[in-house]
């Protein structure tokens, strides 16, 4: 009896020491969780979540300050991925932060643009080119569709255009299941 106790205690002490050593020796630097969350977020940088960009939102989720359902561009799929990563329950997109929309890009009506540069300052990814009193234009492949440029425009010449499907982006649909409808 005593021997058994001693052996068990001995094992516990040795393993405890090993674990303790390992946690110091193999400590992971930085905060990979934030990076992992950031990798799931769509990088729209739209701020609809209430944070100034995707990284701050990732940081907030990681700190437990923000919920996982505040990112409308990431949509339901994004929430599911976050729920998976963080081991939380899925919850629907929080309505106060917006709704999921088809992916769009901003388009400037070049006839109306007065060249005020307000949209250029608002764009989080520098996807609008132009200079003061010169016409501006959106570099569509760089545009994330964040809509941050729409509100500042004094002449309302920016509209969001849904991205059209091309042969390159077209994809096969999920096969329809006839299993249930059969018979």
């Amino acid at each position: 009896m005593l021997t058994a106790l001693l052996i068990m205690t001995g094992i516990a002490i040795v393993l405890g020491a090993a674990l303790g050593y390992a946690s110091i020796r193999f400590k992971v630097e930085g905060d990979p969780l934030v990076e992992k969350i950031d990798a799931i977020l769509p990088q729209t940088q739209c701020g609809q979540c209430g944070y100034p960009g995707c990284k701050p939102y990732a940081q907030a989720i990681s700190n437990g300050e923000a919920d996982i359902n505040q990112c409308p561009p990431g949509g339901e799929e994004g929430i599911r991925k976050l729920a998976d990563l963080l081991g939380r329950e899925f919850k629907p997109l929080s309505e106060e932060h917006g709704t999921e929309k088809p992916k769009s890009v901003a388009r400037i009506d070049e006839q109306v643009c007065i060249g005020c540069t307000l949209c250029i300052q608002a764009c989080p990814v520098d996807a609008i080119v132009g200079a003061a009193k010169q016409m501006h234009t959106v570099v569509a492949p760089l545009c994330t569709g964040c809509e941050l440029c729409v509100a500042p425009c004094p002449v309302d010449c920016i509209s969001m255009v849904p991205i059209a499907e091309t042969v390159e982006t077209w994809k096969w649909k999920y096969p329809v299941h006839e299993l249930r409808s059969a018979a």
Binding site: L41, Q45, G53, V125, A127, V167, W170, K171, W172, L179
Partner: protein
């Protein structure tokens, strides 16, 4: 010389249905009333339009310039007038539109001046550019530019010419080999010269004895290192990788090119097009296409590129119970979504389908893991595992099980006793994975640009602060110079405050200097009006009242 054939695992033997259309010679299709020439003729690349509506063009005239590495030139298929440049549906599973040049033929079918290319007087690069300029792409279906494939480099041991034509119903390559064997082999010799291959192997499925005989007869005078090899009839023996495996024993993995293994493969139709491009200088403006299935006059027709399917079908006479049309073979083809689709370079066959010929599949049942698909798979995959993963949208796992090695040949779905549309699941999974890849790239780019912007704004702020500090120092120096040693202690404490104070002082001075202009010699009316306005202002801004003059 070839001594033994290899084999690939799997494969299926569907009913060939070749006799319907292989009996009659290739006929020249009459000039169509309208040609719709898509600018997207090679894979992943759309050409730049070189003509304008109203312009007259000759047959073979260069009307679209290939863009990018995979671009090839596009030519007018006959002489006539460009009437429109507009999006038009193309032969693609999506049924999407692409920018196309619409030509109204003038009926003369007059060629532009063209001269053959003397291969010996030009460099290899010039010859490849010539082929690009002639718009030569793979005519087996995928439409991969031939000059890109040839450009892969030298060190090629074997050139494989693909005349297997393993898909049921299709006979265009069969007829081409029977009737134009010398031309096909001439093209093969040109291709061989361009890649410096030691031997040429022409693989033809042994269900085409006439084509084999014709090709062997034509090859007999060309030397020992050209052999026409009958290969066992087993779908998909005409798949590029499968044919190379059968003829040479080399297995080319997914993502690798034949060049890496000393083998290169071209379709017989491509060889014929190369022959015409080099020996006559003719760009690719027509091709042989099989019209078969539920039609009155099945056969092969030489058709101008851009001829609309609806016009073409009149030649074959579809029967009344035809309910849809399949482009390509029944194993890998796609259903046509519009009959206004034009004939493109990769279109080898149109099958009129009726419920009797191609009955709809019975309802799908659950997978019982019987493994029939695995035994039929020519890529040695485990299709049912890929199916489970694709269905569950577990794309990572699907990729681990080599989803992208799947050539979508359809053997698995062909044999499945549960009638599961397996290939549909793979196409779906591949599409999703590609889409995610694109999204990931876009979001990485956005993140990088966002972070750079933040960095830039930070830097600009710092630069501004530095500039301000420099300016403050300057002002301080000036103040000290002018002898006004007003509160120097405070200034050194906060240069910014001093600046603000200085600016305020300047503003006050300026304000004081501003006196109402044009107030002399006014009429009484105007005076009254001014007084009125001032009164209104006073009412609105009582705190400003003391400022009023």
């Amino acid at each position: 010389m070839i001594t033994r054939l290899f084999s690939f695992k799997g494969g299926v033997k569907p009913e060939s249905h070749k006799n319907e259309s292989s009996g009659t010679p290739i006929q020249k299709a009459p000039l169509p009333k309208r040609l719709v020439i898509p600018l997207r003729q090679s894979i992943r690349s759309t050409a730049r339009c070189l003509v304008a509506p109203g312009q007259r063009v000759l047959k073979g005239e260069h009307i679209g310039e290939g863009e990018g590495g995979l671009g090839t030139s596009v030519h007018a298929s006959t002489s006539g007038t460009v009437v429109e440049i507009a999006p038009s549906p193309m032969a693609h599973a999506s049924g999407l539109e692409t920018l196309s040049i619409v030509i109204e033929p003038d009926g003369e079918d007059r060629w532009i001046d063209h001269t053959p290319l003397d291969l010996h007087s030009v460099s290899r690069e010039e010859a490849l550019a010539w082929l690009r300029g002639c718009g030569i792409v793979g005519m087996g279906g995928a439409g991969f530019p031939t000059h890109v494939k040839l450009g892969g480099g030298r060190g090629i041991d074997t050139l494989v010419i693909n005349g297997a034509e393993c898909e049921p119903w299709i006979t265009c390559d069969d007829r081409l080999m029977r009737e134009r064997a010398p031309e096909v082999l001439s093209g093969a010799m040109i291709l061989r010269e361009l890649i410096g291959a030691k031997q040429v192997l022409v693989g033809i499925e042994d269900n085409k004895p006439e084509a084999i005989a014709a090709m062997q007869a034509a090859a007999s005078g060309l030397g020992d290192d050209i052999s026409v090899v009958p290969v066992p009839t087993l779908y998909p023996a005409g798949g590029e990788k499968q044919l190379i495996r059968v003829l040479t024993g080399v297995e080319i993995p997914q993502g690798k090119l034949g060049t890496d293994f000393g083998v290169q493969c071209f379709n017989v139709g491509t060889a014929n097009a190369v022959h015409r491009a080099i020996r006559f200088g003719e760009p690719l403006v027509s091709r042989v296409i099989t019209l078969t299935g539920n039609v009155a006059r099945p056969g092969n027709y030489e058709v101008l590129l851009g001829t609309q399917v609806s016009e073409l079908l009149d030649l074959a006479g579809p029967k009344a119970d035809t309910d849809r049309y399949i482009v390509g073979g029944p194993m890998m083809g796609t259903e046509l979504q519009s009959l206004s689709v034009p004939v493109s370079k990769g279109m080898n066959c149109i099958i009129a389908a009726s419920p009797a010929l191609f009955p709809p599949p019975p309802p799908e049942l659950p997978c019982i893991r019987c493994g029939a698909c695995a035994r039929a798979c020519p890529a040695d995959l485990q299709p049912f595992e890929l199916y489970w993963f694709s269905r569950a949208k577990n794309f990572g796992k699907a990729q681990e099980y080599h989803l992208f090695d799947c050539i979508e040949c359809g053997c698995c779905a062909f044999v499945c006793p549960s009638r599961i549309p397996l290939v549909d699941y793979y196409r779906f999974a591949k599409g999703e994975i590609w889409a995610r890849e694109r999204e990931l790239q876009a979001s990485d780019q956005a993140r990088e640009r966002f972070e750079f912007r933040n960095f830039r704004q930070e830097r600009e702020k710092e630069e501004k602060a530095a500039k301000l500090a420099a300016k403050a120092a300057e002002t301080r120096a000036k103040l000290a110079e002018s002898g006004e040693a007003a509160a120097p202690a405070a200034e050194t404490e906060d240069p910014k405050k001093a600046l603000v104070a200085a600016a305020l002082a300047r503003a006050k001075q300026q304000q004081a200097a501003v006196t109402p202009k044009n107030t002399d010699g006014l009429t009484a009316d105007v005076q009254a009006e001014i007084a009125n306005i001032e009164a209104r202002r006073e009412k609105l801004n009582p705190q400003d009242a003391d400022k009023a003059p």
